[in-house]
Symmetry: C2
Subunit: 584 residues, 2 copies
Amino acid sequence: MYRSHNCGELRLDHVNTQVTLAGWVQRVRNKGGLIWVDLRDRYGLTQLIFEEGSTAKELLDKAGSLGREFVIQAKGTVIERTSKNDKIPTGSIEVKVVELEVLNPAKLPPFLIEDETDGGDDLRMKYRYLDLRRNVIRQKLQLRHRMMQETRKYMDAAQFIEVETPVLIKSTPEGARDFVVPSRVNPGEFYALPQSPQTFKQLLMVSGFDRYFQIVKCFRDEDLRADRQPEFTQIDCEMSFVTQEDVLSMFEGLTRHLFKEVKGVELEEVGRMTFADAMRFYGNDKPDLRFDMRFVELNDLAKGKGFGIFDQAELVVGICAKGAAEYTRKQLDALTEWVKRPQIGAKGMVYVKYNTDGSLKSTVDKFYGQEDLTAWAEAFGAEPGDLMLILSGDTKVVRKQLSELRLKMGEDLGLRDRMVFKPLWVVDFPLLEWDEETERYHAMHHPFTSPKQEDIPLLDSNPGEVRANAYDLVINGVEIGGGSIRIHDRATQQLMFKHLGFSDEEAQKQFGFLMEAFEYGAPPHGGIAFGFDRLCAIFGGSDSIRDYIAFPKNNSGRDVMIDSPSTIADEQLQELSIQLALKK
Amino acid sequence: MYRSHNCGELRLDHVNTQVTLAGWVQRVRNKGGLIWVDLRDRYGLTQLIFEEGSTAKELLDKAGSLGREFVIQAKGTVIERTSKNDKIPTGSIEVKVVELEVLNPAKLPPFLIEDETDGGDDLRMKYRYLDLRRNVIRQKLQLRHRMMQETRKYMDAAQFIEVETPVLIKSTPEGARDFVVPSRVNPGEFYALPQSPQTFKQLLMVSGFDRYFQIVKCFRDEDLRADRQPEFTQIDCEMSFVTQEDVLSMFEGLTRHLFKEVKGVELEEVGRMTFADAMRFYGNDKPDLRFDMRFVELNDLAKGKGFGIFDQAELVVGICAKGAAEYTRKQLDALTEWVKRPQIGAKGMVYVKYNTDGSLKSTVDKFYGQEDLTAWAEAFGAEPGDLMLILSGDTKVVRKQLSELRLKMGEDLGLRDRMVFKPLWVVDFPLLEWDEETERYHAMHHPFTSPKQEDIPLLDSNPGEVRANAYDLVINGVEIGGGSIRIHDRATQQLMFKHLGFSDEEAQKQFGFLMEAFEYGAPPHGGIAFGFDRLCAIFGGSDSIRDYIAFPKNNSGRDVMIDSPSTIADEQLQELSIQLALKK
């Protein structure tokens, strides 16, 4: 037994108790014949005290020589502190030490093990095990732990069965790029790591499992962006004999359960919005509803008044920023420059200030009189003090630009509070989207998503208009989860593959097992997958998922701590019947 | 809403209720103007009834045309059965159907979806989704689900944090063969899939996580045997500031919790046995203690009496099978043949019958008189009616052979009841074992296991004698879990690598990050990993893990259902900077 108590549990009740503690030296203070050592573990901090005169000289020396992050064991008696620290739960007591053992000394860490550290990103990645020692990081992983436990509690209570699906599966050409694993026993053949357990969970429904879930690692060999990892975690779920409404209700329940149990937040009812409305009103299929600032389309009011830019645009559309009429000319110029940056790409921006004196002042006064601008203001529902920002161009492009501008304005005006949570179901996604590069339709969700029954006739005439039984859960403008009601009969699945440009032969080769399974009594079914890393980040009030992953990889897919990936031995390559083919 | 109730929940209380059920047609019976359909789902079986006269003709025809495994939806009224079936919970009622919809028809399955099926192994693997539809298989996965939930409940309550460690890690030459994953972004470099999260969990201890666990997939590219899978699941755990006793006590608690909650069994206290005793008394480091039949060594009594085989043997050792003196000559000859099979490899077997009349009869009466045999019987603690079986040879070899014989006798005498559970901690394993092939010592557990402090001086003089702080949990002769107290300082870890034949440079290249971590304040720590698939099989009373895995691979590592592994496209190989190197 290395300890009788942990470093977070001693209280006044324990005074006069003999205790043994073990942990890390947070700091040592030495003053007027007294030495205090703050001893830290995961559970808290306890103050040790050594006093000249009443402590043996040898012990005093030992205490004085302790360094930061030494691992020690201390035996002693709990005493009441003369000056209490009400900032920590153990602040009323300290431990007067009679025995001290250094269990392991420590070199000086390359950065401070404090909430505010002086280590840069790269250094902290290399010494991730030290970064994880900081309370702020460990708490994020403790949040993740709690999220996992509460997720399983909810799913188990709702009779979902947790089933582990295989990690070594089969490479398919659909979707993102697969990571592959050469098979030694089957030379020339490869497994693939799953991008999701999609086909397996559908097979479990064919098997009659009725309700399945799993918290599962998935893999995508994509070029990494700031907030993407090659391996990531999903809460993966599937249900049989359900309509879309059943699925939404079940997982709204999960979301509500997590917010309540993990954050103590009573989440509001989750609204519904069609994909079409989301695009029209927010220019985005994952609108941040912590603030409104809806798009208002001005084609009827703004065209035909001689302003060529608007006249030639497919869409004139704007937002109204409440109380932002006080923006200075300089701020407005900066905003205009911002929308013109290549990342946004607008050609320009029109704004109208609704001054507090009731007058309207725009950048296009030459073309629009007060009467015109008043009509605009009415359309925006603007009031004196508000600022209207208007962009124009091709519908798809301008909506995207205005969406960015809306988010920036929300940020600038302090409307995106991290501790406010606005969930939304976005429904009725298109089934297919046109891909310019390959010149064919791709499945917007995946090829197993069912089209809305009433839209099936459009598959031949106007495929882009076909709506799917697909839905996303969005919180604060972040896509947290997505799913669909699946196709569950062979004929529809074949039709789908045909429209995705698969030959019958290809479809059979890749997904024959699934289509065959549909012929043996497949129930109607549907499901959802939540991005677990992102869900944790949202709960933690963070934009980045990286801190919510114990050992993340950097943007080149490297684990710089263990130095992976790395070269392997020639014998390994030979055994796997592969060789390197490096470009010169 | 496809159903108002599931197929397992209707009772007499529901009589006269209008219900909607959905599920699979288990069977259709048609007799005297009545049609009964057994409707099945995961939750149970409910009888539907259609009656000529009171049911519309069209509906009757539809019911009559239903085939096995059709997926249907039926609306109707719950009525009391005239002839009740007390074998199923819904046996008091049936549903008089007024509406019937075929949600999906089914082809005739290639084997019976019944507890006793007519499908062979290969067929059931190919149509695993249909095999999973059988109650007996699904119940095994439901057991697994329950084991997972209860494991997490126990670990969470004991303040263990569940942390997901990475799947894409680094290949190391130690241990079994790695599966590797070529990196596209880092040409010529590879990730490896983890054989266990060993180094990561140790780093989490260095990080101060104090208690970690995970139910995690691990991977070994080994030649497959009947009960091995390339991907398997572990309950992986690690604790800081613990001695071996703390770890044993914590995981004895987990084992006890699982038995109680999942099986309703109060497990007996888990005994301890040293590796040396296990080998001496049972010839095996995982003795099956459901029966005793301990080895008795006879060197003192059996040597020097002129029987050359015993005289020349290093060890003469036997077991006493209670009540087996009634074995016939034919049975004993068969037993002798059995031990002489190449898999066992004994040269012969001596037996002594202790007849019920008190006389002793052996196969070596020429060399041993009644007095000798009486002394033997005393050593065995034998009584009239017992049978003593004796082997001889080199210690290591003969113990192994006698262990096999002991297990066979236990089996034959019905002493290995699958519903009796005898747990045991085997402790004090050797640190190193000599490998004839590579002519060097290997770590018996793994290179991170600590030697017993008092044995460290032996490392140079007699490495094979050094004992480790390593332990295995054995239940009914099956190794369920194993672990150790780890090395937590750089010097000892380096010493260990040296004894394993690593050069300093190799050790640094492969495990430098871990040894460096030990220099920044590593606490004493230790842990354990349970083979989860095997644990589930033991709980289910089965020898084979395969049925406890939803989608297992066959003995060539193939998933015959999805046909994986498979070839991949040339473009994929190019992107990964590798090419095939198939042997002609």
